[in-house]
């Protein structure tokens, strides 16, 4: 660095050097480390989507890349963007700031773009020579078929009904999920070379597997048997079940006749769908009767709100005792006891109505499954599976509504993916070990100062009057401008989005910027460990770790 000049006094003998000779990194007691944390949306997604990753592509306007990222986990984005109850948004760290990112609307936009532009999934793995039978063409079966096909296996779906789609067709009314969307996404899966046998009810799983030469089987027949209660009535024809009515909506030329005043019994999403469907079929009054309180209804709150806005009437803390000879419904008032459970009060009332539709949940048709050796059916009538989705019978996997879980399309799609990965590993004689999860990027990890306030792009809704009289889709999608806007509201929780904050705020120039897409590196020669980078990282992607001193 510096040289002594023997002929001049010491104080002026040293040549100028750079402070780069002074390695201030030795001062450090803590070191900053870049980390990736798990965003709460990804964590909450039952289908295991990497939501943050596809929002990042969408934010840059690369919708096809965004769609392809979503398709890595979920083959039905246009459907899911409409029918999923978006737990991702419930978990979104943006909620306390202004509003959660409207994730489902962006997903729907991507799904619709894909259908419009005719994007097809990328070619999958080379053929493995293995054959997998999928029983049931609902969301879970279709998801499994898609993932298995991408993994290189030959897949055949056998479906008992005349059309594929399962609950996406029979459980969700068209005003929430238009049928052409369902068909388009199913067709795209079939076009990958998945065989579909319709009107083929499997009665003997082992025989079908043996005859067809299948190496494994994924069972996803759903839960279609309506639960019933015993309500004495002089006219049994007045009592229908919601799943039957909703199915008829889709398969029959003539809409079911429910009369002018319809009572729906139950408090779940199916009850709400049923009441809203009754309204659309011309009922003057659609009355939901539920034995517990409004707060205890399993139906999603936004659906209850939409139903109320459409004029659906809600009678909670009420049970139906009988339909008397004059056709009146005798109902009993309930009251919550000290434990918060409803108890009869002995107070009776009557409701006049033309029909009663039961929406009390569904059971799994387990008859033919019980015959398979080793398969366990628990007391709730659902199939027991291990963490790898395999039943007690080697090579027979199951998922969707027929296994213990929350019964939603998204959970079903997630099961399909998970089962496909385990089936793939099992076929190769291995076990699928999911990679370890990152630490959750909670609100406490973020520095939200750096995000501008931006309210959720409102999805334009059709006005209430039009909703009550038609089966047109209620919510319209985002257009490109507001989809982009919406995607850009993502906070990128837990994962560096290259905002340059750490690079800018370091007083010691100890952050090295590696260039677009390459993120940053710390220069520990000079980093003093002040921690400003970690404190000012908006998304919580830097952690301070104690040095070993």
């Amino acid at each position: 660095m510096s040289q002594q000049h023997p002929d001049v006094p010491f104080a002026v003998t040293l040549d100028v050097g750079s402070s780069l000779a002074n390695l201030t990194g030795t001062w450090r007691t803590e070191r900053p480390v870049y980390v990736d944390r798990l965003p709460p949306c990804n964590h909450a997604c039952p289908a295991g989507e990497n939501i943050q990753a596809w929002l990042a592509y969408a934010e840059e306007g690369d919708y096809e890349a965004a769609w392809r990222e979503a398709m890595r986990d979920n083959p039905l984005p246009a459907i899911m963007g409409r029918a999923c109850y978006h737990p991702c948004e419930g978990a979104c760290n943006r909620s306390p700031l202004d509003d959660a990112v409207n994730i489902h609307a962006v997903e729907r936009f991507l799904g619709d773009q894909a259908i419009e532009k005719g994007w097809v999934p990328a070619a999958g793995a080379a053929p493995t020579g293995k054959k997998v039978l999928v029983i049931g063409a609902g969301p879970s079966g279709l998801s499994a078929a898609y993932h298995l096909r991408r993994l290189g296996h030959a897949v055949t779906i056998r479906e008992a009904g005349p059309v594929p789609g399962g609950m996406m067709r029979f459980g969700i009314p068209a005003y929430r999920l238009p049928r052409e969307i369902v068909q388009a996404e199913i067709d795209r899966i079939l076009a990958m070379g998945v065989d579909l046998d319709l009107n083929h009810k499997v009665e003997d799983i082992q025989a079908e597997m043996k005859d067809g030469g299948f190496d494994a089987c994924f069972l996803a027949i759903g839960a279609h048997l309506a639960k019933r209660v015993d309500i004495p009535t002089p006219d049994a024809g007045k009592i229908l079940d919601a799943i039957g009515v909703l199915r008829e909506m889709d398969t029959s030329e003539n809409p079911p006749l429910l009369g002018r005043r319809v009572v729906v019994y139950g408090g779940g999403n199916t009850a709400i769908d049923m009441a809203r469907t009754a309204k659309r079929l011309g009922a003057e009054e659609a009355i939901i009767v539920y034995r517990r309180t409004r707060e205890m209804m399993p139906a999603h709150d936004f659906e209850v709100e939409e139903a109320l806005a459409e004029g659906v009437i809600l009678n909670w803390l009420t049970t139906i005792k009988e339909i008397d000879d004059s056709g009146s419904f005798v109902v009993e008032k309930m009251a919550l006891n000290d434990e918060g459970w409803p108890e009869p009060t002995g107070e009776f009332d009557t409701i006049e109505a033309d029909s009663l539709v039961l929406a009390l949940g569904q059971n799994v048709d387990t008859g033919f499954i019980a015959k398979v050796p080793g398969v366990e059916i628990d007391k709730d009538g659902v199939i027991q599976v291990g963490p790898d989705m395999m039943t007690g019978f080697e090579g027979l996997f199951a998922g969707g509504d027929m296994v213990p879980s929350e019964r939603t399309i998204t959970v079903a799609v997630g099961h399909g993916k998970k089962a496909a990965r385990h089936i793939d590993a099992w076929l190769g004689g291995a076990r699928h070990e999911p990679p370890p999860r990152h630490e959750l990027a909670g609100m406490d990890k973020l520095n939200t100062w750096y995000y501008a306030d931006a309210p959720k792009a409102v999805q334009p809704a059709l006005d209430v009057v039009r909703r009550q009289t038609s089966f047109d889709e209620i919510h319209r999608g985002l257009d490109e401008t507001n989809a982009l806007y919406e995607a850009r509201r993502c906070l990128s929780c837990g994962n560096c989005f290259e905002c340059d904050n750490c690079y800018g705020v370091c007083p010691d120039n100890s952050v090295i910027k590696l260039g677009p897409g390459k993120r940053f590196e710390f220069n520990y020669d000079y980093c003093k460990g002040c921690g400003i980078c970690a404190a000012e990282c908006p998304c919580g992607a830097i952690e301070m770790v104690p040095e070993n001193i």
Partner: protein, 340 residues
Amino acid sequence: MSGKTSEQKIKFYQKGTFTVGNRLVDEARRSVQGSMERSNAITSGHRACQGCGEALGARYALDAAMRATGGQIIAVNATGCLEVFTTPYPETSWQVPWLHSLFGNAAAVASGVAAAMRVKGREQVRVVAQGGDGGTTDIGFGCLSGMFERNDDVLYICYDNEAYMNTGVQRSSATPPTARTATTPAAGPKPGNVFGTGKNLPLIAMAHNIPYVATASVAHLHDLERKVEKAMAIRGARYIHVFVPCPLGWGSASHDTIRLARLASECGLFPLFEAEHGEITGSIAIRRKVPVEDYLKPQKRFAHLFKDGDGIERIARLQRMADANIKRFDLQRDAKEAPL
């Protein structure tokens, strides 16, 4: 107040709007500090404390001045932390021509350098003088006032950490009321620096009717860079007063440097404004208003205010100072989002 700060609007709400870099805006509108080509006027290895606000503020300001002038600047430095920690003999951290003379004469030396450049016909070479609050508001004040009144072509930047930190945290005329320093101990009936003392140098600079005066903060990088660039586009005497927290002197955590600077502006105690020829032309609105306690509490120099509740009246008085600033500089209007 007329003619609000001319902030550019951006098209969309974006993630990271207020961050150093924002890859969603045009290249030309990105910050100097986000650029891979930034000049790093102060290089690594300097001996500033962990989390030094002044090291950061000086790099922000000089890098912006270098971009604005194509690197044609000479820096003159008063004595102070910035001078000491960047140039322990025989090393230097400066990657720009740099000159240090005495504690009190930085403004006069800068005037001389500017005159020399003018005489040599090299007026494209611009001069930036810099000092701490001690070298600016106390010791160098006479020379600085002369530089202003002669309208010499110098940008003087004061990095204000509110005391003489380099020599052991003695009070300066920029030390706020109630702050504990080595010379204003937290003892007696009026602990810390007393109310009714000190001076507001940006307002004094404005009284000289110079072309440009501004306050800035290390917590508002985009605003700081914009003000430096604006100053470099003007000839004549210009003054920028940058708020730079000092973890050592303030008794704050090193990672809180930017947070404290942000809270100082968000509570109203350090208003961000600019003025041309003595008239205020704009201010940065408060985005998330906080009480002064939020700013005071993380600092040990104000710890005595929170002991036994006997600081309540003094905190209220500081709050009234903040409220007066908010009124005077119109800080609580609808905050403009996206100030790039």
